[in-house]
Amino acid sequence: EAGVTQFPSHSVIEKGQTVTLRCDPISGHDNLYWYRRVMGKEIKFLLHFVKESKQDESGMPNNRFLAERTGGTYSTLKVQPAELEDSGVYFCASSLLGGKGTGELFFGEGSRLTVL
């Protein structure tokens, strides 16, 4: 069974440019989360989809970040325009809908974003 896949694995852009990160969750996982780790700090929550709906976007830092989940399958996270402080590793994770399984998150390997 394929795990959570993220693309690209590393992106280097200049301040002011746009970057789109993609996440393909495990098939059948209705929960999809975006997290990021900035400068060696703890992994912080960005937002949570249940199927195609945004359940919680309280962690999105500002309106330069836009997340979508088309048809409840893959998700994209767009940063426009990128700022230096957006550099970090963006993780996507998926899980079964509440109460099913042990509830653990399955993580992708992350997309490292470097803004110069």
Partner: protein
């Protein structure tokens, strides 16, 4: 405010030297506490879920325990391949976000 604090930040062990990592939390209505292992350049990998105080889970050389305020991850007779960053995370409800601690970086030397 909900908090998850892990200690120590880093731990260097000799092979075979057992030790414990701590994860203390303040969160209302804990649904579950999760332990993950993260290797450099990889995403976190699930280890355990603990749901209630007094619960224990074991996997090879790792054992996780939970009280009402903290969780411990015990590493018994570690091997170099146990070197990784160990993360704990708490979840308040069955669909909600996970809040992570900063992690403990463990290095096991032969």
């Amino acid at each position: 405010e909900d908090q998850v604090t892990q200690s120590p930040e880093a731990l260097r062990l000799q092979e075979g030297e057992s030790s414990s990592l701590n994860c203390s939390y303040t969160v209302s209505g804990l649904r579950g506490l999760f332990w993950y292992r993260q290797d450099p350049g990889k995403g976190p990998e699930f280890l355990f879920t603990l749901y209630s105080a007094g619960e224990e889970k074991e996997k090879e050389r790792l054992k996780a325990t939970l009280t009402k305020k903290e969780s411990f991850l015990h590493i018994t007779a570690p091997k170099p391949e146990d070197s990784a960053t160990y993360l704990c995370a708490v979840q308040q409800n069955s669909w909600g976000k996970f809040q992570f601690g900063a992690g403990t970086q463990v290095v096991v030397t032969p």
